[in-house]
Amino acid sequence: MGKKLLVSVVGVLVLVAGVGPAPAWAQKGPIKIGYQGPMTGPAAAVGKDMANGLKMYLDEVGHQIAGRKVELIVEDNQGQPDLALTKLRKLVESDKVHVMAGGLFAHIGYALAPKVDEYKVPMLYPVMAADDLTQRKPAKWVVRTGWTGSQPSHPFGEWVFKTLGYKKVVVIGMDYAFGWEVVGGFQKSFEEAGGQVIQKLWPPLNTADFAPYLAQIRKDADAVFALMVAVSSLRFPKQYQDAGLKARFPLIGGGTTFDEFVLPSLGDEAIGGISPLIYSAALDTPVNKRFVKEYRAKFGKVPSYYSETYYTAGRWINEAAKAIGGNVEDNERFLAALRKVEITDAPRGPIKLDAYGNPIQNIYIRKVEKKDGELWNTVIQTFPAVSQFWKYKPDEFLKQPVYSRDFPPCKYC
């Protein structure tokens, strides 16, 4: 059928549907989803991965959710908190969106949360991983479908001590909330298992030259744990190798140090890197294989966890909207439905929210390997259904302060 014909047939159908007795929602227009992320600026590539994930899902469902048309409004916040707040105002006040999904950097999550609560429009945080948003400073209207910074680190710390057998580890992490949380979670469980973090180095975000930090690394370490993000992830492994450290101290790290977003730009220096995360593109499940294949066909690259989380966020919105019969205007019910969503077959595995609003999901320990000339995060161990508190009791865990540069204190430094 020609495109024109198709359009006219659809047009006639729409007309007919409009004339007939339509259900109440038909007069309400489309479900509006507001997205904001860094579409320009240094993190633009990540922002595109995120938006692509969401678009891909909406394309799959033909931009129809619960029988209503879906309109996606994409806004650029450049990764700047002030602009993010302005775009939030725009999405809610001008566009009158019913639900939002967005954000990359953890600190923007903190900036937006009070405003989201004020507007009472549900917002999904598929990536922003600031711990306290589902711990000590929960926000009612924020639905986190992603993770907390320390969530993958908790099982990883103990695993590193028990399985890899490293006793003394030097930590080098980006000096901001997300970095502290990833490192803090690792240090807590690693030291409880018997290990020692003997040094903590904190280069500022977007550091280009790591030489001054690499030179300080203590020589009695068994391994180095690195937490890099975005630009730094691209540079660190190479500099680590060039400094002659790779051969002496194996490199482990937080999930973003080796995620699929940077792997295509890295060379052999990344091989062997071990890190935990909620997703790996190499996951050997039919759902994920299909997801990776179609994503590659559409966008010409391997999906990163940014793409997966936003893809799943689209699905999340769909499930919740279906549960309330598409009546997303009823924001209280919509929020309740969003909190109740359970997905058993997302590309990353089964997901549901805990009582505090953070997903319980699988944590994958991944090792960078080369297959067919490409770098992949081969999954070497799966921890099923890990919550943000892992094996700790929530109320006891919440009594400790949020992870920071000085917490947990470095006892063995």
Binding site: E75, P81, D82, L85, E93, S94, Y110, A111, P114
Partner: protein
């Protein structure tokens, strides 16, 4: 160029209409446009304060966002942590900005031109670094969120968008009036004199350094005032408020609007706020458009929007400043 004893009639009428529109329009605007207008007024204060340095003193500063940050952090820390009242937060914000400007002035005013640019850049980054690293006070990168709208002890509340807009308008007009009085005063005239020829002013017996120093402190203090407003407007303060990008943007507002005109930079601020926030709604290539606007300004209206407007209405090129001093 614009500092005539009295504004010409058509200019008075033009400004009157703009003011009237600013007063009357809010109830008819969408709340998003209103929030942009509020932003424009607050950035207008910042741009005008910078204009005192750039336009009247000829000292291009690349660290002006630091004062915005100081004012904003004073409000953020005092209100969220100590529940301080708004007048106290305002006073502390202004005093802190003033004090820091007083210290920075001692260092920065040893240089002029490019060197002044570099020193102010470095000093600005010191304040940025402080906000970034002094986590126990500033919460680092996370920033301080949940800053409430001001409560001035007046019978009406500023929590809603429209009252807060009017508060910002009053604050803007107040800042404009203060700066206007300063630049029209003999002191302000001597600042222009210093810009045009330091050595001549020195031989005339002026204490050039002291004039510059006082000008620098006033610019910093008014910059702090814009920061106080910004914190109350946005409800959120973070190191991003005082990044280099913000300082550059302030400088561009002055250049775009027209140096040494006060109102010009305010118009420049409005232009940039609207370009940045509205154009980006329609295209992700908005940075390109912003760039084109800058280039267009430099090529076709080197005196900025205000300068171009003067030329248009008068039909003549503005008199060179030099002849007046």
């Amino acid at each position: 160029m614009i500092r005539l004893p009295l504004l010409p009639r058509h200019r008075q009428i033009g400004l009157g209409i703009i003011l009237l529109l600013l007063i009357v329009s809010p109830p008819f605007l969408s709340s998003f446009l209103l929030s942009l207008l509020t932003q424009a007024l607050i950035y207008g204060v910042l741009a005008m304060s910078l204009d005192l340095l750039v336009g009247y003193l000829g000292l291009p500063s690349l660290g002006h966002a630091a004062y915005l940050g100081l004012g904003a952090y004073s409000v953020g820390v005092l209100t969220t942590r100590y529940g301080a009242n708004s007048w106290l937060a305002l006073a502390v914000g202004l005093l802190l900005a003033m004090a820091v400007a007083a210290v920075f002035g001692l260092v920065a005013l040893r240089a002029t031109g490019v060197y002044f640019l570099m020193i102010t850049l470095a000093l600005g980054m010191v304040i940025w670094g402080l906000a970034h690293r002094w986590v126990s006070m500033t919460q680092g990168d996370n920033g301080i969120s949940g800053v409430p709208r001001p409560d001035l002890g007046l019978p009406w509340s500023f929590a809603k968008a429209i009252p807060f807009y009017y508060l910002s308008l009053v604050a803007f007009l107040f800042a404009l009036w203060v700066l206007w009085v300063i630049v029209r005063s003999p002191f302000g005239q001597s600042l222009v004199g210093i810009r045009e020829s330091e050595s001549r002013m020195r031989t005339l017996g002026y204490n050039v350094w002291l004039h510059k120093y006082i000008g620098f402190i006033i610019a910093g203090t008014v910059g702090g005032f814009s920061g106080v407003l910004w914190a109350y407007y946005n409800g959120f303060v973070s190191p991003a408020n005082m990044e280099l990008a913000t300082s550059v943007e302030a400088l561009l507002m002055v250049a775009l609007g027209g140096r040494a005109t006060l109102l010009g930079p305010a118009i420049g601020a409005a232009a940039i706020v609207f370009l940045k926030n509205l154009v980006s709604v329609y295209t992700h290539r908005w940075v390109l458009i912003l760039g084109a606007v800058y280039i267009g300004t430099i090529v076709y209206a080197p005196e900025g929007i205000a300068g171009a407007f003067t030329q248009l209405t008068k039909g003549v090129k503005p008199e060179p400043l030099r002849s007046k001093v």
